[in-house]
Amino acid sequence: MVRAGFNAELEQLRLQVEVMAVRVDQNLERMKDFLAAGDLEVAAVTVAADDDIDAMNLSLTERCYDLLARESPVASDLRFVMSVLRVLGELERVGDLALRVVKVGEDWSLVRASASTYDILVSMAETSVEQFREALRAWSSQDLDLADHLARSGPVLDVANAQLVRELLLLEGPSAVATALHSLVIGKSLDRIADHSAIIGSRLRYLLTGDPDHLAAEIR
């Protein structure tokens, strides 16, 4: 096998993307903790950790440019580098969405105050983080079945989100509007986290198959 150095660089890149995904996953865990207890310190740690994620995104993007310039990858190698670039974007976005949730800050108590909608949010957070973990597992094992499952999963939080909105419309009292606005932002963010996780799956699926239909599905 020739191009051993190039192979090693691609494998290194795959691992680094996994490391970045793990950091995003840690922030999602912090996001869940914040949602559970409204701890402002946890929120601050989440914000700081996101700077590391952004820095990784930058340095890995630079590595991709470097590989494209020096190695002129083709076929599966080219799909790999392009997929890394696009998956990096998804990871960065998921990280930002986790921040949106913790940035509710001390208004968490308003969100917590409405028990029915709060319960929906906690359950949505479970689902979205589980969806992201599946994407992480798919990437780290480059598993086509998992990737395909994610790509076909569809909008898993649509129903919960609609239910959340219905419940919020029923709220009454002086803080109802503030509670509803914050809860909506959190609900929408969790919904998008699940979507971006599914997109990671479809990007991985195209990387593994090279099937033009899978590229079309990925772009949609």
Partner: protein, 295 residues
């Protein structure tokens, strides 16, 4: 080029004159003939003194396209290229099996004149090989052999060919100086001009840039892109990026080793649109080769 400028250089009627490829419609507009098949190769093998050097070649060459042959050293791509203008005839003991049809006519048919074949199917070699003559004489050589004597006519053909090979402006003031005084890249374009001067339909190129620097290589690649409007090109190249850049279709050859005899035989692995070959080839051996992991 008009008919008056380039009379058919045919000393005697040849069986190839039965073909549709006549002077009057020497170069029909590409649109009219896009997609037409120039060569149809079916189950071609090349043997040297009974030893099978290449086998299983099934390819069709499309008009006004650039077809690239890629593969590791010794896979038979140059051997196959040389079948297209019967250059292998010149090697003792060489034989061809299977069929190679040029516009439907068997190129290896008994009554086909190899000299006429080579006029219609020109060749450019790896190392620029101008004759030790003036630039003008290099280009005028073919037309003169074909019987063109009039100075004004030759002047026209030479200028046209040199312009066609994108070297006219560089040599127009030194046409009667030696072709060997040119740079490597210029010499190669002179050789292309020499091939164009006899008004071929197809140009075979055997690693035409391997002796050239990147700038000269870029010029030749630009030139190929320009002249494919008028000609059909088959190129053998070791430079995969070059194949990816210039070709429309690509054939990948590799070597199979017979474990019993240790004999190596070249074989065609995959033939497809270049875009497909370099983005998602069907055969794993192609993938390993284009990604540089062959072996």
């Amino acid at each position: 080029m008009t008919e008056e400028e380039t009379p058919v250089p045919q000393p005697a009627p040849t069986p190839l004159s039965d073909l549709a490829h006549e002077t009057a419609e020497e170069h029909p507009p590409p649109a009219a003939s896009a997609g037409a098949t120039v060569f149809d190769v079916d189950d071609l093998s090349v043997l040297y003194s009974g030893f099978r050097a290449v086998k299983d070649v099934d390819i069709s060459i499309t008009k006004h396209e650039i077809t690239a042959f890629i593969g590791p050293s010794g896979c038979g791509k140059t051997t196959v290229l040389r079948c297209f203008n019967r250059m292998n005839d010149l090697i003792e003991g060489a034989a061809v099996e299977g069929s190679l049809k040029y516009h439907g006519v068997d190129l290896y048919g008994k009554d086909v004149n190899p000299v006429e074949v080579r006029r219609r199917i020109g060749m450019v070699f790896q190392k620029p090989n101008p004759f030790p003559k003036s630039i003008f004489e290099n280009v005028a050589y073919g037309p003169k052999l074909a019987g063109i004597k009039k100075k004004s006519e030759l002047d026209g053909i030479v200028e046209q060919a040199l312009r066609g090979a994108a070297i006219w402006d560089e040599v127009k003031d030194r046409l009667h100086k030696s072709g060997l005084g040119l740079s490597g890249g210029q010499q190669q374009r002179l050789c292309i001009a020499r091939a164009l001067a006899v008004n071929p339909e197809v140009i075979l190129m055997d690693e035409p840039c391997s002796a050239l620097d990147p700038i000269a290589t870029g010029r030749i690649e630009d030139l190929m892109e320009e002249i494919k409007q008028d000609y059909t090109i088959i190129i053998v190249t070791h430079n995969m990026q070059q194949a990816a850049r210039v070709s429309d279709r690509c054939a990948f050859f590799t070597t199979e080793v017979n474990p019993d005899s240790d004999q190596r035989t070249g074989t065609l692995v995959e033939f497809d649109a270049t875009e497909k070959m370099f983005s998602n080839p069907s055969d794993e051996r192609t993938e390993n080769y284009v990604t540089g992991r062959f072996g």
